[in-house]
């Protein structure tokens, strides 16, 4: 049976905009606006969206690196927003993150061994010798060898550096790993290696991933369920077969058709080219946030009424007026 590991309810993250000579709050960037989603234990949950859609803010808020404006985040049944510092620290052991640019996540003045030692030092009382042993075991797990222990990040290639980041994230044997664009800064052939590694680790260690990316190929390859975000809101959630096979939301449809494919299928539909630009999340359009660019605009209701996430089937929800009742 599947159980929910991460349960996000009605999460809002609004950043105040201050302006003027005497700074005053003149508005809010609604980076994440009323987002609910649940991630099951052992699955790869893909989060897709263009820049500024709030993917990364959502992920950082789940880790409580950003304080939300309102909402609830349950991790393994524990409400992360209600617990104190000590308990948060203990809970955080189980949730780790890998960011896009490995060189920015690795301190250039520390050796790989010391980088991997950091989580142990923060959370466990073990000897230096044991740390070295564990670090070299972790390096082997991610396909590097002991010789990399004493290197600095500048001596590593992009792929190797990302492997070190993955090793560090796995140091405390977490249940949940957030992967924020883990392969976007890598070349294709290296990207394939890292994806193979991530997939294998997930299987052998029984990890749960929240995979954030704008690369739809990666999501389609690895994700079990997918959520599509647009301007701080979830447009659509479903299994990967549902979302990729038969996108319900017009935005998903346009997004999927916009990607130039290496292996186009004869069943691929003609490309939908959206009008205009992505609006600013500081001043999102009224009603449905997508209505200014939508190719399936059905009338005033889109402009005036904000659509709620409607349940289409047990595994599928969509926020669009095309699917009323």
């Amino acid at each position: 049976m599947t159980s929910t590991l991460v349960d996000v309810k009605d999460l809002k993250v609004h950043f105040p905009i201050r302006s003027g000579t005497i700074p005053r709050v003149t508005g809010h960037v609604k980076a994440v606006d009323d987002v609910s989603l649940d991630i099951n234990a052992g699955e790869v949950f893909g989060l897709v969206g263009e820049s500024g859609s709030g993917k990364t803010t959502l992920a950082r808020t789940i880790l409580r690196l950003i304080e939300p404006t309102s909402g609830q985040i349950l991790f393994d049944g524990v409400d992360l927003l209600k617990i104190g510092k000590g308990e948060l620290k203990r809970t955080r052991k189980h949730m780790q993150v890998v960011f896009q640019n490995p060189f920015l996540s690795l301190n250039p003045r520390m050796t790989v061994r010391n980088l991997i030692a950091e989580p142990f030092k923060a959370h466990k009382k073990i000897t230096e010798e044991e740390i070295t042993q564990r670090a070299s075991r972790l390096l082997k797990l991610v396909g590097l060898s002991e010789e990399h222990l004493w290197k600095y990040s500048i001596e590593l290639s992009g792929g190797q550096a990302q492997r070190v980041c993955i090793a560090r994230a796995l140091a405390l044997e977490p249940k949940f790993v957030i992967l924020d664009e883990p392969t976007s800064s890598l070349d294709v052939s290296v990207q394939a290696q890292i994806l193979n590694l991530l997939k294998e680790l997930q299987k052998t260690l029984g990890l749960t991933y929240l995979l954030i990316t704008h690369d739809l190929g990666v999501i389609e390859y690895i994700a079990d369920r997918v959520a599509v975000m647009y301007l701080g809101k979830i447009a659509e959630v479903g299994t990967f077969e549902q979302v990729f096979g038969d996108p319900a939301h017009p935005y998903t449809e346009a997004l999927l058709s916009a990607v130039p494919k290496v292996d186009p299928a004869p069943t691929d539909k003609a490309r939908i080219i959206l009008r205009g630009n992505i609006p600013s999340p500081a001043n999102p359009p009224s009603g449905c946030r997508f209505h200014t660019r939508c190719h399936k605009y059905i009338g005033d209701i889109c402009r005036d009424v904000e659509p709620n996430l409607t349940t289409l089937s047990a595994t599928r929800k969509v926020a669009c007026h095309l699917y009323k009742s």
């Binding site: 290696q193 190929g217 389609e220 390859y221 130039p260 290496v262 292996d263 959206l274 630009n277």
Partner: protein
């Protein structure tokens, strides 16, 4: 080559470029050669550091000071760009060959309005025109690049435009001299997919309407399949394979091309382990001898380590630089 020479717009031959750095000499380009025909889009594809951009910069004579062109020719409309004087090259660069860079924001000056920057460029190409006429031409160019409301765009500063709009302005600038060749270096990489789709449609339309030739530098193979007529695959400073776009994707022959294509992630490979090329891209300060791909190549034979393979025509229009072309058929279409 079987091409009718009159069709060839730019012909790059045996280009060798070294960079002098503190760490030593970087053997960046190792005999690069290709042709661009009139009205075609040639894709130049390869991974980071393989010399795609260096090739473009060498052709336009924009290489940094630590670069040295050891040998080679870049014949454009019958004249070699590499032996021209600085003055002569200035009359070609920007006028007959324009370049579009990856990051539109860094190609525009943040301190000046779009109109000012555009008119500055136009003054060069239309020296005898009045300001009012130039404004009109500038607006025309902006509307060719499908920018809505060119009049107000002219009054804006670059930061007031989104990335997609900035790139359209860059395209307007690039087109303002009616060039015959555009070198586009990762023109859509910095943009979101839905915006990328808009620009691709525009680029295709302009290419058809104006009969442009385009050298498209990219690592995005999806983009190549969609936009290019022919493709040149580059690895560690050499071109390893050139063919029509259909042929490259259906019957790639060079082991590197095969490796590159099979490592592209797509939903169709779900459940399978992704293939990848073993090893790493070599350092160009100390490149492998012979074929630079030999340490990673599954088809390596002794001669690969001794002598660099030349691009040879294996079927009409399909050139491969390999001593031991894989015999088995390609599995992924």
């Amino acid at each position: 080559m079987p091409t009718n020479p009159s069709e060839v717009l730019l012909s790059v031959e045996d280009l060798v470029v070294h960079f002098h750095t503190l760490d030593g000499v970087v053997y960046a380009l190792n005999g690069v050669g290709f042709d661009i025909r009139k009205g075609e889009v040639l894709g130049l594809v390869g991974e980071t550091g393989c010399g795609k951009t260096a090739t473009a910069l060498a052709v336009l004579r924009l290489l940094p000071e630590n670069a040295e062109v050891i040998s080679g020719h870049a014949v454009f409309e019958g004249r070699d760009l590499l032996t021209k004087s600085t003055h002569e090259i200035a009359s070609i660069r920007g006028r007959k060959i324009s370049m579009i860079f990856q990051d539109p924001a860094s190609s525009l000056n943040p301190l000046f309005r779009i109109g000012t920057q555009l008119i500055d460029v136009l003054k060069e190409y239309y020296p005898n025109y009045h300001e009012a006429e130039l404004i009109k031409i500038a607006q025309e160019k902006l509307s060719i690049a499908e920018l809505p409301d060119p009049e107000s765009v002219m009054r804006m500063f670059p930061h007031e435009l989104s990335g997609g709009m900035q790139q359209r302005v860059i395209m307007a600038v690039a087109l303002s001299s009616s060039p015959s060749l555009i070198i586009a270096d990762e023109p859509t990489t910095a943009l979101d997919v839905t915006i990328q789709a808009q620009l691709l449609a525009l680029l295709k339309k302009l290419k058809e309407a104006l009969g442009l030739s385009v050298l498209l530098i990219t690592h995005n193979l999806g983009l190549v399949r969609e936009l290019c007529d022919r493709v040149a695959i580059m690895y560690a400073g050499s071109i390893v394979e050139i063919a029509d776009v259909q042929r490259i994707f259906q019957n790639p022959l060079h082991p590197y091309t095969r490796g590159l294509l099979s490592s592209v992630v797509s939903g169709r490979l779900r459940g399978q382990t992704l293939q990848h090329i073993p090893g790493m891209v070599p350092s160009l300060i100390n490149p492998p001898s012979g074929c630079r791909f030999n340490p990673r190549c599954p088809y390596v034979i002794p001669v690969c380590k001794d002598k660099r393979p030349e691009l040879t025509e294996v079927e009409p229009g399909h050139l491969v630089a390999c001593y031991n072309i894989p015999k088995e058929a390609w599995w992924r279409t």
